[in-house]
């Protein structure tokens, strides 16, 4: 009997699903929530570092490689296995499955700020207060430090941060005589002027990006997600969300944003040839531009994020991640030792030297950091602008305890506004409804 290849291929995909499901089920039994938080003193950590051992770290952040090298030189008895288990949600799926299965869990994992509450709530992460993490108050810049706390408990140490700024192609702006926009109204005006002058050029590209949208709402002062334990309030029609929806709707309706998804080949191409003129994005972007859009060297500059009110200095975080210790990891004291090394002091400096944007006050405020001139940006002192952005992050923001899922259905709902007559406001409403439904199904008290 012939096997239909199509049926067979899809069958394998289905098997994959079944296997993951199996892993999840194995989890159902092992829900031993002992609840006791380990108390580990600094001496215990030092002893663990001296005694040595092997650590498995799941992370995709590239500068960690250099940190591991320096760390192993300093503590020769410790071996760190740096594993790239996927970027972003791919890694979370793998981590969730490993935690569910109760085996193969890393000792440390990179978790983005938006995903941290989900793992914290699932009681999958070690509460770091027992390690004296609270004494690190003031070590990190306020935005990231607030992001690693969930319900008043610290679950991770900030590794980097992404205060937003406006990256723009100066050559394109100069060519068409467009001033760098300082407010969002000016941004829309610049978008119109640019596209009228060159129909192939767009102010930016967007096909619906949950991370960008939530950051924009954040800057506008919106607080659509309010979380108090298992009580969740979702309101994607609050003032900040509405402000964003009304602004961005103009760009979408008039087709002033290029329909190109971020991080695609077409996106890099557009950033290089001037058809995508600006990016409003996190402070980790310079290294990505240098490596991904090498052809545009000297053309790009960085300016403060456009404001809702002229003269303001409000920004938001976009991306950024922490290191956290999964409860099922083996050597917690050793893991904390590496984690602290990688996120503060020496380790943080190594990562900054290799292009990361720091989450530590010491590194952000260092003169060497601020005064560094970037040849890619025409010699501009980029970090001055970005450090300024870090201090303007609007406080009081929180993500949903199931933000990973909510972001995965963003394009099902808000995405409709990009390809049909649905408005962004309607799309946000649909996103809210779908998220509320999921939250209720998962046992939260929502709205």
């Amino acid at each position: 009997m012939t096997i239909n290849r199509r049926a067979f291929l899809r069958g394998t995909a289905a098997l994959g699903t079944a296997a993951a499901a199996a892993a999840a089920l194995a989890a159902c039994g092992s829900d031993d929530d002992s609840g006791d938080n380990p108390t580990v003193s600094a001496n215990d950590v030092d002893a663990a570092l001296a005694a040595g051992g092997t650590l498995t770290v799941w992370a995709w952040e590239t500068t960690l490689k250099q940190v591991v090298t320096a760390f192993q030189a300093k503590y020769p008895k410790v071996t760190v296995n740096l594993v790239n288990a996927g970027t972003g949600d791919k890694q979370y799926t793998a981590l969730q499955n490993a935690i569910s299965a109760g085996s193969g869990v890393p000792d440390l994992a990179q978790i983005e700020y938006y995903a941290l509450p989900q793992f914290a709530l699932g009681k999958s992460l070690v509460d770091l207060s027992g390690f004296g993490a609270n004494s690190l108050d003031g070590t990190f810049t306020p935005g990231p430090w607030a992001s690693v706390k969930s319900g008043g408990v610290t679950y991770g140490l900030p590794m980097d941060s992404g205060p937003m700024a406006l990256f723009y192609n100066k050559e394109v702006f100069d060519k068409h005589g467009i001033a760098v926009p300082a407010t969002w109204d000016e941004y829309v005006a610049a978008a119109k002027k640019l596209h009228a002058a060159d129909p192939k050029a767009y102010i930016t590209s967007d096909t619906g990006d949950a991370g960008f949208t939530t950051s924009m709402i954040w800057q506008a002062g919106g607080k659509p997600f309010q979380v108090d334990g298992t009580n969740v309030k979702i309101n994607l029609a609050d003032d900040g969300s509405t402000k964003f929806a009304n602004l961005w709707q103009q760009l979408v309706t008039d087709k002033l944003v290029a329909p190109i998804s971020g991080w695609s080949d077409a996106w890099y191409k557009g950033l290089g040839d001037g058809t995508i003129a600006t990016l409003v994005i996190g402070a980790w972007m310079p290294a990505n531009l240098e490596s991904g859009v090498a052809a545009a060297k000297g053309k790009w500059r960085v300016a403060p994020m456009p404001q809702w009110t002229a003269g303001g200095a409000a920004t938001a975080e976009n991306g950024g991640s922490s290191l956290a210790i999964p409860k099922l990891g083996k050597n917690n004291a050793l893991a904390y030792g590496f984690m602290k090394y990688a996120t503060t002091g020496e380790g943080a400096q190594i990562r900054v030297d290799n292009g990361a944007f720091p989450a530590t006050t010491e590194q952000v405020n260092a003169d060497a950091f601020k005064n560094k001139e970037f040849p890619y940006f025409g010699g501009q002192k980029v970090n001055e602008v970005l450090a300024q952005a870090a201090s303007g992050v609007v406080t009081g923001w929180s993500y949903l305890p199931f933000q990973v899922y909510a972001n995965s259905i963003f394009n099902d709902t808000v995405g409709k506004a990009y390809v049909s007559n649905t408005t962004l406001a309607d799309g946000l409403k649909a996103w809210q409804d779908a998220s509320v439904k999921y939250g209720k199904e998962q046992g939260f008290t929502v709205n």
Partner: protein, 332 residues
């Protein structure tokens, strides 16, 4: 005659045939075996000998086929929440599937795909098979190989390739628009996407189905054509009265394969999603829906229920088509 032979290869054997075979194949020793009063031990030993032969197969079959299905069914009776853990919910997941508008919209989408794409694909495949079989085509093995070739391209590669061509910004469509100043409809837009996927699937599987039809046509004795020509039948008449009835079984089996394949549509939309993120939802096809439920939403239990309902629906549709096909067979 030829028709009968082929049908028996392709589909479940006709009833009379089956009984005949049984009579012939049954070992005479059993028929003649002793009185009913034989000891139970002896009978058991004999039955175990048989099991020893099918045992390896049964073990593999149980392990890779029955166990996963049984496990999925078991999973579908529970629900795991982020808050509150796992609980037994009986058939509640199934009740939810039947009122789940996202599931039914995905089912509706593949049903539409089935009604439009499968007939087109099978018609093209049939046309190609008849042309190659006609013996009038110059370079027929060249055509046979080139039409079959796309089937050898992995579905992932094929979809990426077509995806690049479809791109309205930087793809072939974009280039054509630029070069001629046209504004062709966006193949990745909401109105055209399903048709674009249909085009990819057709491209991939015309050759495969053509080969099924072609091999069925090859079985027909050439003498029938000679006889028909002597009776004054033209090519069209030969196709209608000899070739098509003769390959009815092959048409049926190709249709059933295509139904199964369509309901399991996954690769093409999943890969194109990165190019059309707002058009291809996480519930674009039933398989994608099951996939995102379990991987993005951690809803393994509900995902299992969706998968099982979908499997049953596929089986029902495929069986209905088979019954209809066989009934026509008998009428003839």
């Amino acid at each position: 005659m030829a028709r009968y032979v082929y049908v028996n290869i392709a589909i479940l054997p006709a009833k009379s045939e089956k009984e005949g075979d049984m009579a012939v194949l049954a070992p005479p020793a059993i028929q003649r075996s002793g009185p009913p009063g034989r000891s139970g031990a002896a009978r058991r030993r004999r039955s175990w000998t048989g099991w020893a032969f099918v045992g390896p197969f049964m073990a593999v079959f149980a392990f890779v086929f029955l166990a996963p299905i049984g496990y999925a069914i078991y999973l579908s009776f529970f629900r795991t929440k982020l808050i509150g853990g796992t609980s037994f919910v009986g058939l509640e997941n199934y009740q939810n599937v039947f009122t789940d508008s996202q599931f039914w919209s995905s089912f509706g989408r593949v049903a539409l795909f089935l009604c439009v794409q499968v007939p087109i694909m099978l018609f093209l495949a049939l046309l190609a098979a008849l042309a190659i079989d006609s013996g009038r085509l110059y370079g027929k093995s060249f055509f046979r190989v080139t039409i079959f070739m796309p089937y050898a391209v992995p579905a992932v590669v094929a979809t990426l390739m077509w995806g690049f061509m479809y791109g309205p910004q930087f793809g072939l469509i974009g280039n054509i628009n630029d070069a001629f100043g046209w504004s062709l409809p966006n193949p990745l837009g909401p109105g055209w996407l399903l048709a674009s996927i249909g085009n990819i699937v057709t491209w991939e599987f015309v050759g495969y189905n053509m080969l099924i039809f072609y091999s069925a046509l090859q079985v027909i004795p050439r003498t029938l054509y000679e006889a028909a020509e002597l009776d004054g039948a033209g090519q069209v008449r030969i196709i209608r009265s000899i070739k098509l009835p003769a390959i009815r079984g092959a048409l049926l089996i190709a249709t059933i394969f295509s139904i199964i394949g369509t309901f399991q549509l996954f690769n093409e939309p999943a890969i194109l999603k990165s190019l059309a993120p707002n058009v291809i939802t996480t519930y674009y096809t039933p398989n994608m829906y099951a996939y995102s439920l379990s991987f993005a939403g951690q809803q393994f239990n509900y995902s299992a229920a969706v998968a099982i309902v979908m499997a049953l629906l596929t089986a029902i549709v495929a069986y209905a088509v088979q019954l209809r096909g066989l009934r026509k067979e008998r009428v003839q």
